[in-house]
Amino acid sequence: MQLLWDGLIEASKTVAAFDPLVMHAALRTLWVSGLAVTLAALVGVPLGTMLARVRFPGRQFVVVICRGSMALPTVFVGLVCYSLFSRGGPLGMMQLIYTPWVIVAGELLLALPITVSITHGAVMALDRRVGETAWTLGAGPLRRWRTFISEARVGVTLAILTAFARCASELGIAMMVGGNIKGRTRTLATATALETGKGELARAMAMGILLTVIALLVTIVIVSLSRENRE
């Protein structure tokens, strides 16, 4: 309890003082995870909708793979990215290792199964009259797709929030391919791990609280944007 209290005080002091290292880590967490989740949503939401609405051979297999991939350990994803982007890897010539961009790539791999699976579930759960009504009113495939997303917006919002929460708090990818380099690839999660390793528990707690607050704020913004009365 004392540790939590010390962490709260430390977090307040850090924010009030605009500690540059912490602020940079917080901003980096936001843009790296935000970009990864945005890309995952742009790809995953249409893909999830397609999986729910279009029958094709092997569809059920794809659904099972996506759902299983939601539980991928972040260190495993980090390892896969390392093997791809390290100097000896097939994508080594891009020289992205130990840059924020490779963390984005790794978190995209983490977020994609989440956005696909939860969107798929949300669209599958829609009343069949949604598609029938849209079709009988003359809506083409693109307009029907937009209608499904709109009607399943609660589930789609949840998919995006879940993906963001997983990415913002992940440690394995950022550590393995980012390297936790100060001012370059350090995120709040890796900074928390570093401060804990140094024995600076209050400071580590402060980072953790900040990360939680950021996640809450993002949740509030996204939920507000998707509210019904914003029609």
Partner: protein, 203 residues
């Protein structure tokens, strides 16, 4: 407009709808009556193309965009009543102004223009039906297929809907609910009961 011959729809070994012969000419208004579970809705779904697993012949001389269908329990999309009624018009790339005018016209004809800006999820059952009917009429279909369009409506709403339906010159095939007799609506009435299909009377 519609030619049905030896139509039979089976599910799990049971016959749920049988229509030996039905022809609906352009401009006719045909009403189907019958007991619950007789297969009336299934027949409409075959006509509209939502039900494709059947034996026999069902030929409709209209492309899918010229057919408008209102479900037995209409589904309204999230949003306002107006956005619902303009949905089909927007799908046909009608300009926003024209779509709005068209939508308001039909909402007014059906006595629910005051609900144009209301949230579609807050309407009563009768209001939902009138909005769904306005939505179908707004796209100016060649063939109108309606499943119990007057059910759940109060007297005022039913009267407005009846007036609109009775004045329509487009081909219409509809199911009449038990509480709303088809008088004044139909040029022909058919009864579907125990999977048998027979003409009741013609106007």
């Amino acid at each position: 407009m519609i030619r049905i011959s030896q139509l039979s729809v089976q599910r799990n070994g049971h016959t749920i709808c049988t229509v030996p012969d039905l022809t609906v000419e352009a401009g006719e208004r045909v009403v189907i009556v019958g007991d619950n579970g007789a297969g009336k809705t299934t027949l409409l779904r075959v006509v509209v193309g939502l039900e494709r697993d059947y034996d026999g012949v069902c030929r409709v001389d209209a492309v899918w965009r010229d057919i408008a269908f209102v479900h037995q329990h209409p589904f309204l999309f999230r949003g306002t009543v107006l956005s619902n009624v303009t949905y089909g018009l927007c799908a046909r790339r009608v300009s926003r102004n024209t779509a709005r005018k068209q939508a308001l016209y039909w909402l007014d004809r059906l006595g629910v223009a005051r609900l144009a800006d209301a949230n579609s999820q807050t309407l009563s059952g009768g209001e939902r039906r009138r909005v769904a009917l306005a939505r179908a009429l707004a796209v100016d279909p060649a063939l109108l297929v309606l499943d119990e369009p007057l059910a759940d409506m109060d007297d005022q709403g039913a009267e407005a809907a009846r007036t609109v339906l009775a004045e329509l010159s487009r081909t219409t095939i509809m199911i009449a609910s038990p509480t709303q007799p088809p008088e004044g609506l139909a040029t022909r009435v058919y009864r579907l009961a125990n999977a048998a299909f027979e003409k009741e009377h013609s106007k």
